[in-house]
């Protein structure tokens, strides 16, 4: 049976894993290669590394980080942050990533999706969408808006429509972050996740709002998500992907166990 994926996400700044709220008050949380290997050993189904520096000067540092992280990692490995051209993606793949996550660059130039997909396959292209419900709209969920720049600036696109376009252009997966839920620990936005999942034929990864194991069970059932990003939950009582998955299995969620 196809299982629900638990994805560990590492935010990386200048070659180090960092933790912080909304990219401020960053605290050093270790070496990316060590942390990724630990998550894989502790049962994560996939690793996402997000470069939050994403500056031109930082590219070489990122590629070195990806290379070191990929070396001993034998689960799917996705890298995002600062990928603006097919050449950027190619370098990240050559360094050992299996997938790239693209966000604002895809919005600015949607052809980027097919440019990467045609060379490396749709399975290698994850389109990340930062979403907020539109409280003014008749249907705040279906008319949720895409945001860029860390959720600060509206992109002028509706989430469902952009997800569909990304699929048509050759995205292999959608990584959907609810900016409303992010950091709240009050649960994923299941309604929004379900609206996107129902609109596209490709898998949807839910992100933002996890606080308890039940939140994951909820986004997999009600939210129709295929995978979920676990970040802050590891700091609040649940120590590893394995223990998260063991609790999910007890709730009847199909997960990869033993792992």
């Amino acid at each position: 049976m196809l299982t629900k994926r638990i994805i560990a996400c590492l935010d990386v700044h200048a070659g180090r894993v960092v933790k912080g709220v909304q990219f401020v008050d960053l605290v050093d949380a270790g070496d990316p290669a060590t942390q990724a290997a630990r998550h894989a050993r502790e049962g994560a189904d996939e690793i996402v590394l997000l470069d939050i520096t994403a500056t031109h000067e930082g590219r070489q540092t990122l590629l070195d980080t990806v290379r070191r992280t990929a070396r001993e990692l034998f689960v799917p490995f996705c890298v995002g942050g600062g990928i603006r051209a097919a050449r950027d993606a190619e370098q990240v793949f050559e360094a050992g990533a299996d997938k790239v996550s693209i966000n604002s660059a895809a919005l600015a130039r949607p052809d980027l999706i097919s440019e990467i997909g045609s060379s490396f396959g749709a399975q290698a292209v994850v389109v990340a969408i930062d979403a907020r419900r539109d409280p003014e709209a008749a249907d705040p969920v279906r008319e949720a808006q895409v945001f860029v720049h860390g959720g600060r600036k509206p992109a002028g696109r509706r989430v469902v429509e952009w997800a569909r376009e990304a699929e048509e252009r050759g995205a292999g997966e959608i990584l959907l972050t609810s900016m409303d839920s992010d950091g709240t620990r009050a649960g994923f936005d299941c309604e929004l996740t379900a609206a996107v999942s129902e609109a596209v034929g490709i898998p949807v990864i839910a992100s933002g709002g996890a606080g308890t194991v039940a939140h994951f069970a909820d986004v997999f059932s009600r939210g129709k998500a295929h995978a979920a990003l676990a970040a802050s939950i590891f700091h609040f009582g649940v120590s590893t992907s394995r223990s998260l998955k063991e609790e999910l299995a007890a709730m009847g969620v199909p997960v990869r166990l033993p792992c």
Partner: protein, 206 residues
Amino acid sequence: MRVTVIDYKAGNLTSVLKTLRHLGAEPVVTDGDLSLVEAAERIVLPGVGHFAATERLDATGLTGAIRAAIAKGTPFLGICVGMQWLYAGSTEAPGQPGLGHFAASCTRFAESAEKVPHVGWNSLEVRAGSRLFAGVEPGEFVYFTHSYKAPVTADTAAVTHYIETFAAAVERGNVMGVQFHPEKSGATGLKILSNFLAWRAKGASC
């Protein structure tokens, strides 16, 4: 152990090369040097992306060289599209023939409420006696990402259920294929690749 890895410009080889090195093999890559296929101790044909990309194997003469290497007993492993290429063809690219080592053809998953592609970790049911899956316990998980698949036949070495039951792996003598990505499938994947690297013709001495 030198392993010839075939590059037909479909996707990136980094993960496969890195994993082979991790297991102690020495991968050498060729995108058209047929001597590397003729002299190969092992051949791996990776592949992600579109079946049409295998046209390059015909254009470069690699198809003929691989056919000859297989005939003389060189162990061969196809991964993902590399497994599908072992069959007669795929409805993904109807004009492009596969190697035809296995007679069946690959088809897209049937329309259903489930997502296509099939992406994620799914479990294996392994046929008794498979050498590629020696030591793999029932229900172990491997990582898939694909929209097309091969049917279950007498040569199927493992099956997986998604929408329907399909061939997760094929194995006949020295020719093996896996629909999933062993290089991305954790300890289970490493065990399967190790089995391939350790494969010897029955009765052969060390």
